[in-house]
Symmetry: D2
Subunit: 409 residues, 4 copies
């Protein structure tokens, strides 16, 4: 399976700029160490495939099941999440050896003809690892942002950051009606993207591009972070408790804001989409702007006629080939920032989780989270599609999350 | 306005069994002292009506605005919520004097002909106070449940508790289709109950009665509280952190469970609806039972053909006259327990909050909460209607909350 | 026993200005409700005397042992301290009835001739209750200070507040040498005041009066609360965490500081001793002033030649008859503020706690606390003696605590 | 200065078994990363000596002052202690380069004749680094103990662990009287070890050896961890809150206890001194045993006639050459476990902290800590002397701390 090899190689490539220490530290309970991502994605293949489907398979290390299970209660006990950063052992080299061991066993396994359900699990494992590749980068950025030295992960190709576009924002209208939403079959999708079903949509309009840093500065200068009437109650409480006054990673320097990026501290590009804002901030901004966030269904309906350009079909971390978006219509839907929607992450009608341990994949997170749509500058290309439902709690800021305005019409 | 007098008298009646100390204590940040409820509902009339619409009105006490504002940021600063229980002054008698002062001023005001928007505000104030009447009772129950003496609020008429019904649970089917939901006009409704709009509903079935204590015991005995696979991730974390093993207020005695009630500690009635469970517990129970929670729209569609019986049109706290429910169809929809739905509390399409301070009433709570439908044994009759949307966080247990199962068909 | 009647009456008198609600609320875990003090001191007599020494004694209420035990682990389980404020029942009137029941039983008991150990226990119970009388007042002040209405406990006779004295501060010298310290027998003393033993004292000098508010203002104006070099490490951490910038209860008004007192909010008397400062603040002040706190032994040696004036032999709450201190020598040692010393509260050589439950009285607090000497404006007269060792954690501020400077010579 | 070279080399040797990740992680706020210890001790020399006394000295990195200042408020701002584990950069190799840079500059500096105060500062810096060498090892042990793999720091020579001695415990008597205590001059000592002064000591006896694991097991089996009457109040609260039931690092295996050590998980040696107990536990044990902890002065008086054997004058980490202790008198005073005393860490009479930044070395910790005497199996030999005062909070368990019993006679 070509996807398997490509995904596994990409993870190794992502780790190359890191020291063992970089790969071990955990900057907050919500983030995981890079080494843990590398090991956990490997454990997924070992526990879900090798141990179940390869008779006589010998696990690489009997402790790893405990150390690198993330949240699959069906699979057994696990190490407490907030203490992942204390696992200085196994060493990064040992984790590479673990990956090698599992890769070799899977390669051997794939030489035989495999039943469809096993092939599906391998594909799921690849997509699972791609999700962790994005988290790998968001978590490393968060770690490096805590360090007063503000180290760079690596020199960042400008195209691997949300793109500055100088076009003006306009609103494009969409008719309402009875529409089908959800993944329609054809290609991989996570269970929560379906089943496809019908929704009623009212007529609405959607901004042609995401909210920019320049627009966000106007919100800040107008007192947006100090006016409780703009905020959801929980959002206001959080913003006060944590003293929010700008997006995560912004730093006021003389005369301008800079922001921490994967390439280190850099001056803010005013025409690039704002990034690292929470749902709470996005919602307050929208209210201030006399607009609102779109629902996830409005977003999907609007987006599915937009051609996904560039080399997004392959794992494209750090090798983006994005065509210019300066043609009419919705711009920058994919590959810049995840866009918060006003939709709580919930099951679609007749949703049933997958059988077995992988059934814990999405279903159990259906409380307290909001859906984001699109895909960011660090999202693997294979995860760029109109039906993809990313989800995070409304106070999460360390993802590459921004917003696009919507309006009733 | 007859409603005004009746509502204001009911509050006083509710406070009668309490000492000044009972009315002052606050058992947790989510609950408020009884005295605070009495004063806050009065402040609502003073701040929203008298100060705005009665020239020359003299406030009863200049400090009260600070002390008894709940969450209206537009109206000004307020006393920190977790410290409400330290307000031993004003005395309960002073709060009664405050109520008298405001009631008299409002009575005078109502002698004139009032514009419609002012009348609407008075009506809103009455419904607001009725909501606090229910909270008054849930909060007193919570306070008394913390006291090892387990005091009774007052002798409770059996009918003022979720009713035990020995009929078996069945499932009633409903067709899907395109339906109208939301308040349709005619009579009072909160802003969040509208606008009326269309939804797609899939065919489903709904249990004819709420889940009972007997059924809940079976869930417990089957290890429901110990099996993470039944739970939402946040729910499991909460259940572990707080060591949940049964509904709030249950106490294991030799051979049986008892439960704290407004009438004191009482043996559990096995055929009564389970009450004081969180959304997390309700959801886990439904999964265990091979069912699910209904969406709020399924509930509304199913409920709106059921006749609301009894004397529910009047404030009926403690004077329920519920007819037997032993006729076919859905039972105990109203007047026993609030029923958790799987719907996050969110704005209906084209929802716009009311103008001014009362616009903070519902809109700002549209994150992190779930909708409950129906109405409990302590819900004022005027709040019993199919479109009513109660909402609480998914871990809230001190309300009279239970559940009714749904299934895909 | 005359002391018994007098002490018990004084407690009732102290409670007279309070409502049931005032007497129930608990403003922080370190403070207790007034009602709890009234009941706990009564429980002490019931549990330590009546239940042990009066055959056939019937307890007033079987729950009270659980509710009103403070910390006597030997006597059994107890209600969690931070939840004392939720005990709205028993009512204050019921607590009075409890006191009456126990008083009557003790009066009957005292009609017989009692063995010396029982008489000693009664005396201990009286002194125990006097300690709680002081806490009663410090705790009520703390509660009322949390209320934005700043209610007065009652009109305070000026003499019942630390006295302003306009004399200048001087230092009086004391020779060092081998001295005896500790209670020497004759009259009641707590176990921790003995055994009497020898200490080596170096020559030192002691300020003739406590540090005043005026001096404290100079410390504040000189940046005393902002200079970490003046502070103990734990003190600085606490001061930063809680944002200390002045003594507890001070409030900056236009042009002057006011302070909450038992008589309500009042302008600061500049020549009165500073009060409501922690050991950490006192220690920082002393360092700023080029001095230090005295050890408890220096204090005791210096103080024991000073005549204790006024009607301090009787319970003198609110009836102080303090003679002028304007004669040479140490002023205001007793009856104004407790004076922090640099001595950790520890056992004297050969200290052995009393046998049985009362052995928990002092010994178990011998870690993490510092000794205060003297006695404050709310200290019962019977607790005024040179050997008395009061003790509190170094961050405690709600007691009537101040300081007197010492120096090496 | 020979000491300088020897101390600096020892630190490098201690770090040899560690990966960059091991050297970066921080297992709790009270512990520091190994890399931080290496850099901080270097910063001490740079900030206190090179920057002040070498004209034109160029700091290695301008950020390091912020990153590696521990608690010297006089020297400037510093990185928050609980976030030291996030400093994955600078790399361990860069810290070595920093050490090399500073060592070279100091070597050059020492080629000149230096004034006495500068020489004293260098000596202080060496002793400071030796203190951190001990912390380096206690902190690494704590880190590795959090890892389910229980990694070994390195193979531990049996003599580098508290020694098992099968001799019986006896008590040796000491007369009381007026004694001199404190460092008497001659050789290096920290400021808090003086001034030498007189104390009164009562006659007492001291156990000839520290409490052993075997004796501790008897305490456990007798319910020592479940009986509140044995405990200080703060100790009992802590033991309950953290569920203590045995010393830190013990793990119950089938039939026996094992303990985490620097050599990995190892079976408990029953005749070795108990280690990794808090003052609270030590105090409870002593009470259970009908004894008490000695004061630090009793300990010093008893210890100062005992010959310090072995090669303790040199930095002796991991190269112990301890003679047999099986001669009469006090055994194992030095080189096995630090021994808790009942003395709060406080200033000796006429103590004055050193001038300047190094004045923050000890004085500011004189609240809330208890003195330990002796020296452990990981204490550098140069810190073994009768007057040495180690100090930690009473709940600290991760040091090599045990106890020796004392009695009144």
């Amino acid at each position: 399976m070509r996807l398997f090899g490509s995904v596994r190689r990409t993870s190794i490539e992502l780790a190359r700029p890191l020291t063992d220490a970089d790969a071990t530290a955990q900057s907050m309970p919500d983030a995981s160490p890079a080494k843990w991502h590398l090991a956990h994605t490997t454990w997924f293949f070992e526990a879900m495939l090798l141990q179940r489907h390869v008779p006589g398979y010998r696990v690489f290390d009997a402790h790893y099941g405990y150390l690198f299970n993330s949240y699959y209660d069906a699979v057994g006990q696990r190490h407490p999440r907030p203490q992942r950063g204390l696992l200085t052992r196994p060493r990064l080299q040992e984790v590479y050896a673990y990956r090698h061991h599992v890769d070799a066993a899977l390669a051997l396994m794939m030489e035989s003809e495999l039943p469809a359900d096993v092939l599906d699990l391998i594909e799921l494992g690849c997509h699972h690892e791609q999700q962790h590749q994005e988290l790998f980068l968001t978590d490393i950025l968060h770690l490096f942002a805590q360090n007063p030295l503000r180290p760079a992960y690596r020199a960042v190709h400008p195209a691997a950051w949300p793109r500055a576009e100088s076009v003006d924002t306009a609103f494009q209208s969409f008719e309402g009606g009875l529409v089908d939403v959800g993944h329609g079959g054809g290609g991989f999708a996570f269970d929560s993207e379906g089943p496809r079903h019908r929704r009623v949509i009212e007529p609405f309009s959607l901004a042609t591009k995401p909210v920019t840093n320049r627009q966000w500065l106007a919100f800040m200068e107008d007192g947006g972070y100090r006016n409780p009437l703009l905020w959801l109650a929980d959002g206001w409480a959080k913003a006060q408790a944590e003293d929010w006054s700008h997006p995560l990673y912004w730093e006021a320097r003389v005369g301008a804001y800079w922001s921490m990026t994967l390439g280190g501290l850099a001056p803010l590009e005013l025409d690039a989409p704002v990034v690292h804002v929470s749902l709470f901030e996005a919602d307050a901004f929208a209210r201030w702007a006399g607009a609102r966030l779109p629902t996830e269904f409005e977003w999907e309906v609007a987006a599915r006629d937009v051609r996904i350009r560039g080399n997004l079909g392959a794992a494209r971390h750090w090798r983006p080939q994005r065509a210019s978006d300066k043609e009419p219509g919705l711009q920058q839907l994919y590959g810049d920032v995840w866009e918060w929607t006003s939709s709580a992450f919930a099951a679609y009608p007749r949703f049933t989780p997958a059988e077995g341990a992988v059934g814990e994949y999405n279903g159990k997170f259906m409380s307290g989270q909001f859906v984001l749509r699109g895909g960011s500058c660090v999202t693997p290309g294979g995860h760029i599609r109109p039906s993809y439902r990313n989800f995070f709690p409304p106070d999460a800021r360390w993802q590459f999350s921004g917003l696009r305005l919507a309006k009733d019409i």
